[in-house]
């Protein structure tokens, strides 16, 4: 057990030494892998941010009902009861016109504009939270509510979020395709690097086999090399994304200041960062495994 560990440690040192002996080509390989991985990861992180933005804007779907201006208090309490008893509705919230005006002043900073008004232009409103999340059910409910008297305007608030959702789905698919293609590229890069190494160490491999090396012994240093190169490539991708995000956030700060918002792009989460590194290490390992196995197979069938 101890000698097994020592051997792995030795192979690891050997791998790092080999990376150091050709620093320029190692660095270029790592950079190529980093750029290839940063594209889909960058796309993913941008989508995550847009997703977060849309979640923040609208949580659960809701229907806003604006009553006509001449609705009486009696009618309001009658509507309130009817809505609460409706089978498709889970919760009803009444927003009196005075409260609506206050909210408008607070949330949008339009105090100057609203302060100049001689009378409140806003109607009373109900906010209805449906039980279902399904867009078809929501639309039927909206259409039904539209037929009620005194319901001047019925609006399904989450409609545009649904559209954004569809767009995000499209974006996610595009990122996925990009990720798959570039993963192949990463495997190919490692395959080729390892192939060149095998060619320069052909003699060592052949001698080792003659004096009793198993295939896994011969594979091991190459697998380590692929793993480490993939890991470093993943780290390079992480760095590229970090630098890009901080640059984008710096210029975004100027933009959002104009809109008095404090939106900024979120970085990859700890879990996502870990996944990125693990995935790139795995792909490096896989490329090395394919390369060295193919070579050993060629040697045996020769």
């Amino acid at each position: 057990m101890k000698s097994w560990l020592m051997h792995h440690l030795y192979v690891m040192q050997y791998t790092l030494r080999r990376l150091r002996t050709s620093p320029v080509s190692s660095l270029l390989n790592i950079l190529v892998i980093g750029v290839a991985l940063s594209l889909p990861s960058g796309g993913y992180i941008l989508l995550q941010n847009v997703q977060g933005l849309s979640d923040k804007l609208v949580g659960a779907p809701q229907i806003s009902i604006f009553l006509s201006m001449n609705t009486s208090q009696d009618e309001i309490s009658r509507f309130s009861k009817q809505l609460e008893q409706h089978a498709a509705i889970s919760r009803v919230e009444f927003v009196p016109r005075e409260q609506a005006l206050q909210q408008l002043q607070q949330s949008t900073g339009l105090t100057d504009v609203t302060g100049g008004l001689t009378q409140n232009p806003l109607p009373h409103a109900f906010i209805v939270y449906p039980k279902s999340n399904d867009i078809k059910v929501l639309e039927t409910l909206r259409d039904e509510l539209k037929t009620w008297t005194k319901f001047e305007h019925v609006q399904l608030d989450s409609a545009w979020v649904r559209k954004l959702e569809a767009l995000l789905k499209f974006g996610r698919l595009a990122v996925l395709i990009l990720a798959v293609l570039l993963s192949f590229a990463l495997v190919a890069i490692t395959f080729n690097t390892i192939r060149l190494q095998i060619l320069t160490q052909r003699e060592e491999i052949e001698v080792s086999k003659l004096i009793g090396a198993s295939n896994s012994f011969i594979r091991r240093p190459f697998l380590y090399f692929g793993l480490v190169q993939g890991l470093l490539g993943g780290s390079a991708a992480w760095l590229i994304i970090t630098v890009s995000l901080s640059l984008l956030n710096a210029s975004l700060a100027d933009l959002t200041q104009l809109y008095s918002s404090n939106f900024s792009l979120q970085h990859l989460s700890l879990g996502d960062s870990f996944t990125l590194l693990a995935f790139s290490a795995y792909l490096g390992w896989l490329g090395a495994l394919l390369s060295v196995s193919q070579h050993l197979w060629q040697m045996e069938t020769r």
Binding site: S3, E204, G212
Partner: protein
């Protein structure tokens, strides 16, 4: 310990390297394999180490049928054999110590124990003082001795040497044969192929002569 029963080997293209070979080597024996170049001496040794496989008959080592051995078991067979090559097959990117260390690394030996064994093996072939040198700095005879050190560091019970004195002058050749003789005296089984008449005259041991792939009486 090693037995051949009606073994034949044909190479692709139809060339018959060995024809119907049968013999046995007993444990602790020193056996010489002689014959002209191309008589099949190297092929015979390669069959024992599973570098080549026979087309007919059975080759067995310690009761194991080498002709039918599966690829996964070959490394373990070779760890019990000491192979000495005419062209040495040394690695020129590392020093003497690391060259001899390789079989022990492959077998997964503890590092400190390995270092002791490596030095003992280098000492036995008279190269201990040059452990830090690179093989390129060695003479032909010294390179062959380094190859022997690498073959014996695992303490195998069987040594196979293919033309170990092939390109060497008489003094170097005798030095190598003396090393083999000392292994023979401590009980190792040796199979040495050579076409060097003076060696065959000087050293005791059974002699097998191959001629065009056939064993001569």
């Amino acid at each position: 310990m090693i037995s051949f029963k009606q073994v034949s080997k044909r190479y692709p293209g139809g060339y018959a390297a060995l024809k119907n070979i049968s013999f046995e080597v007993n444990a602790g024996e020193m056996l010489f394999l002689t014959g002209h170049s191309g008589a099949g001496k190297s092929t015979l040794l390669k069959l024992i180490a599973a570098i080549e496989r026979p087309n007919g008959g059975t080759v067995s080592v310690n009761g194991q049928n080498i002709g039918k051995i599966n690829n996964g078991a070959i490394p373990f067979l070779r760890r019990n054999l000491g192979l000495i090559f005419q062209d040495h097959k040394l690695l020129f990117d590392r020093n003497l110590f690391d060259n001899v260390m390789l079989p022990l690394q492959i077998a997964g030996f503890d590092h400190r124990e390995s270092a002791k064994r490596v030095r003992a093996a280098l000492d036995k072939v008279g190269l201990l003082k040059r452990e830090k040198a690179h093989p390129i700095a060695l003479s032909g005879g010294e390179q062959q001795r380094l190859c022997i050190a690498r073959a014996i560091v695992n303490r195998p019970s069987i040594l196979l040497a293919d033309e170990p004195t092939g390109n060497l002058d008489t003094d170097s050749a005798n030095a190598i044969m003396d090393i083999f003789k000392s292994f023979h005296q401590v009980g190792a089984t040796l199979l040495i192929s050579t076409h060097d008449e003076s060696i065959l005259r000087q050293y005791q041991g059974r002699k097998l002569t191959l001629k065009q792939g056939e064993l001569q009486a």
